[in-house]
């Protein structure tokens, strides 16, 4: 039972890890593409 579960987790782990990586990348990129509003005179 443990072996198929281990294989399954070895597939799931990269998927979840990539999701976390993409989430962090998007979070950082969104901030980067919206510069702080600059007040006009």
């Amino acid at each position: 039972m443990a072996l198929p579960a281990l294989e399954l987790l070895l597939l799931v782990l990269p998927v979840m890890s990539v999701a976390a990586g993409i989430y962090l990348a998007v979070a950082l990129s969104r901030r980067r593409s919206s510069p702080t509003p600059r007040p006009r005179a």
Binding site: S17, G21, Y23, L24, R32, S33, P39
Partner: protein, 156 residues
């Protein structure tokens, strides 16, 4: 073509004016400010269907470079600069963290994502909430992984 050149020239002129106006700012802050504005204007000028008028409007909306620098100095003196958790630019640590979490999870199973999360937690550019979400995404799999590995021993 000439539209593009005129737009580029306007951007270059604006950025050089901003650099001159920001001469009184700390060098790293001035660099960050100019970089931020440059990225914004590049995004506008490289957008699909961008026109010279659009670039000039974007420059106009930003306002006078001296006003931007004055606002920056005012924010710095009032202690209202962006918190260190959100400077909003990629650093080496962030690149390594994302690389380990994505590519690293295939090249170095378990070790890659773990190191990626550690790097993310050391970074000051993500908020606590963002780090928590990333950890919550990965951590349950780790726990299940440990449980499955320990399963034969638990059954004894």
């Amino acid at each position: 073509m000439s539209d593009e050149r005129t737009g580029d020239q306007a951007v270059a002129t604006y950025l050089s004016q901003l650099e001159r106006a920001g001469a009184g700012l700390p060098p790293d802050r001035r660099f960050e400010l100019v970089q931020q504005i440059r990225e914004h204007l590049e995004a506008v000028s490289s957008a699909p269907g961008a026109t010279e008028a659009g670039v000039l409007t974007a420059i106009d909306r930003l306002g006078d470079p001296t006003d931007i620098v004055a606002a920056e100095e005012h924010a710095a003196s009032a202690g209202t600069t962006e918190p260190p958790a959100t400077p909003g630019a990629w650093g080496p640590l962030e690149v390594v963290a994302v690389a380990l979490l994505t590519v690293g999870s295939f090249l170095l199973p378990v070790v890659g994502p773990t190191a990626g999360l550690v790097c993310a937690w050391f970074s000051r550019r993500w908020t606590q909430g963002e780090k928590t979400v990333a950890t919550v995404l990965v951590a349950p799999t780790f726990l299940l992984f440990g449980l499955v590995l320990a399963w034969p021993f638990l059954r004894l």
